[in-house]
Amino acid sequence: MTTGSFVTSTLRHFALLLISAFSLLPFAVMVSTSIKPADEIFSDSVRWWPEKLALVENYSEAFSAAPLMLYLMNGIIVTVAIFFLQVLVALPAAYALAKLRFVGRRVAFGFVLFCLLIPYHAIAVPLFILLYFVGLLDSYSALVLPFTISVFGIFLMRQFFMGVPDDLVDAARMDGMSELSIVWRVMLPAAIPALTAFGVFSVVAHWNDYFWPLVAVSSDSYFTPPLGVMAFRNAEAGNNFGPLMAAATIIVAPLLALFLLAQRRFIEGIAFTGIK
């Protein structure tokens, strides 16, 4: 290695470590505070590792002060139900738009493109009124139903299906398969990469979503993880930071653990869906 490249390499790492410090600082503070006893949190000196470890105290207080496991379960129920229903609805539609000729196909695809532009926040008020009149507010249905239709999923899968050779579809028809079984037995297996990307996108979006759950549910038995953190913070209005940071860690951990295990999948999934 020449001195020049040694200098540039050092500069590169220096700059990147600086940016890493910015991006990782909140995580470090969160975890470090979650294992500190109160008197060390309020002390003037900054220490990353506590003198006296309060890990068990803080985490057990977090679990006993709020039903965190319930919030996590709700998060899993809601994200899984949403993704499952999105696939159930979007895949046949995407296949029809990509491979079948039917009356109104262009109009239908036009609607898909148009709806892609509208953030769901914009229609939250009427959705809320609709659920209010059918009496579904404050339920799992309220959290799941509005997201069963994903125009983004339809668009993404349609683009992917356009690239699947027609011969594959024709061969399946020759074998006497119905169009619906072609969707599930021919197209679905071919679409696993695109479906994974969409799954990452959907699960991350709905696990972390705050706006809609905040609007749609009010009893804490339906709280999703972000609502749970807020409920915890509001209940512990004092300065009980140790358990609060423990609760935040618990809520953030599942998705981050999945991400660390399958980074490439996640990053590619987000890049793929981001560029579309």
Partner: protein, 293 residues
């Protein structure tokens, strides 16, 4: 193949569930926003009265609305350049070497994955006027401490920094995808042709070839920044004194705290026009360089 009756039937049947749900949960709500905006509807009412442009006249006279609109634009004007530039710099720096690439990529992407709400609570603690690490650092550097979230002159910018923190990793990933599409031999050729300076090569090759990605990333960032809500709701509730009131928060307060649906719908119309306007730009930028889509 001609339009066969059976294929027509199958197509309609397969699209039917999506069409029904789309009508119910997307088209009808969207249409009713544009109806509600011209009514005095309040949640729970069984009937509504059309009041013409009254909601919009009221908005025009409402200083909170103007504050909300200008705060949203200011927030966006800080977050977009910040997160695009930091995303680009990160991508270029990671791409410039071979060691620790995946460590840095993961570190920068972590904030994108983590629940913003949970991390907002952590930021609140970091920004705490007496025990926060930010003021501790200010003190160590001999700078005056601040009450970051309660000081109306800086609170919006503090939220913008959190916005940059949360989103630059997303932009980095898009830039890295763009960088990997640039053929390596272009750089070799440039070096042989007497462009030994990395900065010159950047200006000659990287920047022009990355331009379409940059436009796309910038527009996406604008749209995302217009939707800022979580940090505002969790940390400032639009305060102090409306200093961090942003459009989505105003819609939320009007629609779901005061239940003034008609009024909320009128603000939503403004919000939709902003987002759709910017999205049209994205559409055009994608059309112009279909390759990146």
């Amino acid at each position: 193949m001609s339009l066969s009756a059976s294929q027509n039937r199958a197509g309609l049947a397969l699209i039917a569930p999506a069409a029904v749900l789309g009508l119910l949960f997307l088209i009808a709500p969207l249409a009713s926003i544009f109806v509600l905006a011209f009514t005095d509807y309040q949640l729970g009412d069984r009937a509504l009265n059309f009041i013409g442009l009254e909601n919009f006249h009221a908005l025009g006279d409402d200083p909170v609305f103007w504050r909300s609109l200008s705060n949203t634009l200011i927030y966006s004007a800080v977050v977009v350049p910040g997160s695009v530039l930091l995303g680009l710099i990160s991508a270029l720096l990671i791409d410039a070497g071979t060691s620790l690439r995946s460590f840095y990529r993961t570190a920068f992407f972590l904030p994108v994955m983590a629940s913003l709400l949970a991390m907002a609570v952590v930021w609140e603690f970091m920004l705490h006027p007496s025990f926060g690490i930010v003021n501790a650092a200010m003190k160590a550097l001999g700078l005056p401490p601040h009450n970051w979230l309660k000081d109306g002159s800086i609170a919006l910018y503090v939220l913008a920094v959190i916005g940059i923190w949360q989103s630059f990793g997303f932009n980095m990933v898009l830039f890295m995808a763009g960088l990997s599409a640039i053929p390596r031999d272009l750089y070799d050729a440039a070096e042989m042709d007497g462009t030994p300076n990395a900065w010159d090569r950047f200006k000659l090759i990287t920047w022009p070839l990355l331009a379409p990605v940059t436009v796309f990333v910038a527009i996406t960032s604008v749209i995302r920044s217009f939707q800022v809500f979580d940090t505002v709701h969790a940390l400032t509730q639009g305060g102090p004194n409306k200093a961090t009131e942003v459009l989505l928060y105003t819609i939320y307060a009007e629609g779901f705290e005061f239940f003034r649906s008609g009024h909320a719908a009128a603000i939503t119309v403004v919000f939709i026009m902003l987002v759709v306007g910017v999205s049209m730009l994205r559409f055009l930028s994608l059309k112009k360089n279909g390759a990146s889509a």
